[in-house]
Symmetry: C2
Subunit: 545 residues, 2 copies
């Protein structure tokens, strides 16, 4: 590969100083001072890249992103129209056009980027799905630049890549190197989990996260929307759930409008929104607005006034769940809903005499896993009736035999997750890995390296089994996270996960990753994402709050 | 003490849910769910507080903060004038006055807060100093509220306390309980260290930190302004220091105007600004703009092209330092300058033949500590000539005999800091503790409890020795901190340090601290400080970015 780029000075200069780690110890050994990567600031690294040393000048006032000839998409493809405008803005938007100096002729200029969709089923007017095609080809030549993709989703990824190739010289002129890229994701499911129950996250914080996800080619927002602590989802059918279960019924909720806005904002960036309504545990807040939903706990033969998991032995529970999930299934267009199923505490069930009776009648003995299984089975049946697919936390697989073959199992327990991946895939289930990527756990220093080095397919299993791992998620649980610290805690640490899930298995150089990520991080800062620093240094434009 | 306050619902409701620590382990054991403290949301807790159950209504449109009769201060006391306006705004500023509902007569109303300075030397027109008096008395009665203080600094602390007593009822009406407070700080030096060399911090971030410090009654900004990585201080005498040593000579510097603004903004909040110009180590960036300042290192008998600490054997060094510190002494009005003196690496000195010769001539043998001592002694002499006091890191005490008796020693090494405090104070030096409060070290969970439980005087020593510990500092070193994450990393963790240094030694209940701090944190958020959450829950007004 011929390399002629000098992208680093544009976005971030880092001092090659004697690097005293002043009065500090770090868990992760320090890397060498960053220097320009042969791959510039591309993040995540595309599958195939050829960067030439020939540099083209881009005159922003003349530059346009257009639908290319033969494209199956045109001005009615709003996803692309919006993306053209957005990426022009990311690249050149902070200039007033009249401020652009007169162009000095150079070897070559680039005045157009054509975007060509090749498939009739280009999904311009659809939501992204598990089957969406995110692959694209990008060529930057003297006679123009072209992104070719089957579907809009690949075009969106290509636009992000193109924007990452643009840089400035010392006079401020915009440049791009002649480049050929062939790119596609290694894993189809590349997610971020946000938790809006432990702390309410204002809509703006969620939208900002979607922006940053697009900058990192991540494509799933796993929205852990409700939990014990609060129920901010405003249900049309059961308004009391948020009226009584939210932290505050007017200010700390997501209305139908809010949810639709998140979904549409995500769609425009090629991101699926998968809501999690976790039952039968983690439902304390549900009980406030839905009478008789939770199991009454007993003490000394009397109801104690406290409540446990969802009550699995009354019909009302299933009627309620059917109605609620029917609504949820309509509000959230994605094929999949996450049903939770983790960490069910049996102590309340054990205390309740009606449950004991039910257990006896059904021959469950004292195996409360069987009761949990009974409950989960009913919920899964409801989902099937509603035509929805589902994901569950690993306990549902660990404890139950009768889950449908198309269930997607999320592996979250930190210990022995490789073994769990082996088991889940050996049983023929698809799996998503989140165990090594709990970003709410923080520590001093460059822990992103640990996330980066994690290889999701490093477990005992056949090739067939490995194909069943469809991706992973960076999880930012909310116990200690809210609008004040979410963005710098998530980024650029989630960027490490993003590259691991997108780029080739062969992309393993932590030093090269560092060289690119330090620039990518400053680019995110420049685009308004308060991503925290990786180490000493600076960005040309520091964060403005 | 009679207690009738219900401050908690106004600022922050926290769910008393089954507190699953969802998928998380924490170092620090969780506390009980927070509930209203008998002390409301006072932070740091005043020395003596009596809160009555009698509630007074405050009608904001009629309420005024005024100079009380007999006060030695009047409208020309700009520190107070500015503080009156500021605290009115914190308490009532988000309302338009016409929106305030007609006042229903209640048992009593409070329409005035008088501020009375009693000393002729009230320091209205001075900078705060080590000798400033921050004590005050506050009484809130039917016939009015009064803050009495010798000097403006106590009045500022009293205004903060008064603002913390105001709360709202469920209709939004402002209330305050009849209260008597007698308050003064336990330690005179209560600091925050900011590091603007590892990352440049935009001026706004520093000013915001000063706001938050005032909310926590902290009174020292220890400004670690330059270090190896960059030299953002713009010197009038030696402009090349920042021209060449800053990350960027125009955007990443502090001009004279910037520095003056920080100092004045701090003064208005009763905060001293103590700059640190650390030598002879930690000076890599200095060498870029000042030829022959640093020691040339040698390899195989030849200069290697790299540089070590300040060169202590040439006269030019001391001429330069005298001139620079003369300027610094004029720019920064505080009596004290921090001279650093930590972590001097001797390897470069050892490699240099001229230094070997100098050592021999001066009879230093091979004891490079003696050379360091020689250098430090010259610098201390310069400071004495300039009439400045100084602080140093503990190495200067550990390695040298001839430091002046009024040197203030900062204890920073984490291991055996109690022993170091014993030694420093036994030798008769004043000490400041920062070792247990390195807030740049992060970990999962409620680490503020650890900072809170640290008792600075828990070391072997006489009463006389303990009196020599004048305070402590929360240090936020900048390797991994910049504008993106500074505020949530510093607050409310530094608040724990603030209360430890202000409140009585008897204030040790972590649970009561939690109950108050969770509200204090939401108050900071309401005032624009993005202080991170302590645990699950919410603020009435979440952070808006």
């Amino acid at each position: 590969m011929a390399v002629g780029m000098q992208l680093l000075p544009v976005l971030c200069l880092v001092l090659a100083a004697s690097s005293h780690a002043h009065r500090t110890k770090t868990e992760v050994p320090p890397l060498a001072d960053p220097e320009p990567s042969p791959y510039g600031s591309l993040w995540p690294l595309p599958q195939e890249v050829q960067v030439s040393s020939t540099v083209l000048l881009i005159p922003p006032a003349e530059f346009a992103i257009v639908h290319g000839e033969g494209s199956t998409a045109g001005p009615k493809c709003l996803v692309l129209q919006d993306a053209f405008r957005r990426y022009y803005d990311y690249m050149f938007g902070f200039l007033r056009l009249e401020d652009v100096p007169a162009i000095k002729p150079r070897s070559g200029q680039l005045v157009q980027l054509q975007v060509i969709l090749t498939s009739k089923n280009n999904e311009c007017h659809k939501y992204p799905s598990i089957h969406s095609d995110e692959s694209y080809k990008l060529s930057v030549n003297d006679d123009g630049a072209v992104i070719q993709a089957c579907q809009v989703w690949g075009a969106l990824r290509g636009l992000e890549t193109f924007s990452q190739l643009v840089y400035k010289d010392s006079t401020g002129a915009f440049l791009i190197n002649k480049t050929q890229i062939n790119d596609f994701p290694r894993f189809a499911h590349r997610g971020v989990l946000l938790d809006t129950s432990r702390h309410f996250l204002p809509l703006k914080v969620i939208l900002k996260t979607l922006d940053a996800m697009a900058f990192n080619k991540m494509n799933i927002l796993h929205w852990h929307i409700v939990d014990d602590q609060s129920f901010p989802y405003q249900s049309e059918t059961f308004p009391e759930l948020s009226n009584r279960g939210a932290y505050q019924a007017f200010t700390h909720i997501y209305s139908f409008i809010d949810v639709r806005m998140v979904i549409e904002y995500a769609r425009l960036r090629g991101i699926r929104v998968i809501p999690e309504f976790d039952t039968p545990g983690h439902t304390y807040s549900w009980g406030k607005g839905q009478k008789d939903l939770l199991t009454p706990c007993y003490k000394d033969g009397e109801p104690s006034g406290t409540f446990g998991p969802v009550n699995p032995i009354v019909n009302g529970t299933y009627t309620f769940m059917y109605t609620l999930f029917k609504e949820i299934g309509m509000v959230f267009p994605d094929k999949y809903i996450h049903l939770g199923g983790d960490e069910v505490d049996f102590s309340c069930w054990k205390s309740n005499p009606a449950i004991a009776k039910f257990m006896a009648e059904h021959g469950f003995g004292t195996d409360y896993c069987k009761l949990e299984s009974y409950y989960v089975q009913q919920i899964l049946d409801i989902m099937s009736k509603l035509g929805k697919g589902y994901m569950v936390w690993q306990e549902v697989f660990d404890n139950h035999d009768q889950i449908n073959p198309d269930t997607i199992v999320k592996v979250w327990k930190g210990q022995n997750y490789a073994e769990e991946l082996s088991k889940v895939t050996a049983a023929g289930f698809s799996a998503i890995l989140s165990a090594p990527w709990y970003l709410d756990y923080i520590s001093y220093g460059q822990d992103w390296q640990r996330y980066y080095k994690t290889e999701p397919l490093k477990f005992n299993g056949t090739e067939e089994q490995k194909k069943l791992v469809i991706g992973g998620e960076a999880c930012l649980w909310g116990e200690f996270v809210d609008a004040t610290n979410l963005t710098p805690r998530l980024w650029p640490r989630a960027s490490a996960v993003a590259e691991r899930l997108w780029s080739s298995v062969k992309v393993t150089s932590v030093q090269d990753a560092y060289n690119r990520l330090i620039v990518h991080r400053c680019r995110m800062v420049g685009r308004g994402i308060g991503a925290e620093p990786l180490y000493v240094g600076f960005c040309e434009h520091e964060m403005k709050y």
